[in-house]
């Protein structure tokens, strides 16, 4: 079926506002990841969901960042009180757990600009 879908593709917000970014993983994929890609930088791991297990939140940069995954499918990344340094491309990936290859399939990302 379709690949990983992210929305919106672009988001411009004012400093201090809250934003929500959405990710629809590939159907049947139980693992879901969020990464952040800043200009000129590699991808930075943010959070990982696997089925009904507790998420790995070790990459979230501050308590302004949170994410949830409802029904084991769609995920929302929320950034509260956005700051200019939050400007980046936020990428979502999904994979089938249990495969040794660990292929992560990425969406096209949401480009967030904080003015």
């Amino acid at each position: 079926g379709a690949g990983v879908s992210q929305s919106p593709s672009n988001k411009v917000t004012e400093k201090g506002k809250d934003v929500e970014l959405r990710c629809d993983p590939i159907s049947g994929h139980t693992a879901l990841y969020w990464y952040r890609q800043s200009l000129g930088q590699g991808l930075e791991f943010l959070i990982y969901f696997q089925g009904n297990s507790a998420p790995d939140k070790s990459g979230l940069p501050s308590d302004r960042f949170s994410a949830e995954r409802t029904g084991g499918s769609v995920s929302t990344l929320t950034i509260q009180r956005t700051q200019q340094e939050d400007s980046a491309v936020y990428l979502c990936a999904s994979s089938i757990r249990g495969l040794a290859k660990n292929i992560q399939y990425f969406g096209a990302g949401t480009r967030l600009s904080v003015l």
């Binding site: 990983v4 693992a31 990841y33 990464y35 000129g40 930088q41 590699g42 991808l43 930075e44 791991f45 990982y48 696997q50 790995d56 990459g59 990428l91 990936a93 994979s95 757990r97 040794a100 290859k101 660990n102 292929i103 992560q104 399939y105 990425f106 969406g107 096209a108 990302g109």
Partner: protein, 113 residues
């Protein structure tokens, strides 16, 4: 311990030439090393990957060379084509509970016709 260092930052190669991108890591517990290719406006896509029990893996024009003792691995693109122009990321992960990828900073490759 978690860092993956990638070089060069950018690379210009003539069509038909060989593109070489290098990565180094510190954490000896890493056991999976993928390379991702990213075109502008798109998400990264897996290109080729290797486990540390082999020293080389080849898929078409793309080859990973892996040196476990030196904790280094590299991507070689043979007969480089303009369509290969993209950003390439090396990565590493622990195949365990999280499988999160630790990425290098990326190499912007431009293949000139």
């Amino acid at each position: 311990q978690q860092q993956v260092k990638q070089s060069p930052q950018s690379l210009i190669v003539q069509k038909g030439g060989i593109s070489i991108i290098n990565c180094a890591y510190e954490n000896t517990a890493f056991d999976y090393f993928p390379w991702y290719q990213q075109f502008p406006g798109k998400g990264p896509a897996l290109l080729i990957a290797i486990r540390p029990d082999v020293s080389e893996k080849k898929e078409g024009r793309f080859t990973i060379s892996f040196n476990k003792s030196a904790k280094q691995f590299s991507l070689h693109i043979m007969d480089s084509q303009p369509g290969d122009s993209a950003t390439y990321f090396c990565a590493a992960s622990l195949l365990g509970a999280t499988n999160k990828l630790i990425f290098g900073t990326g190499t912007l490759l431009a293949v000139q016709p």
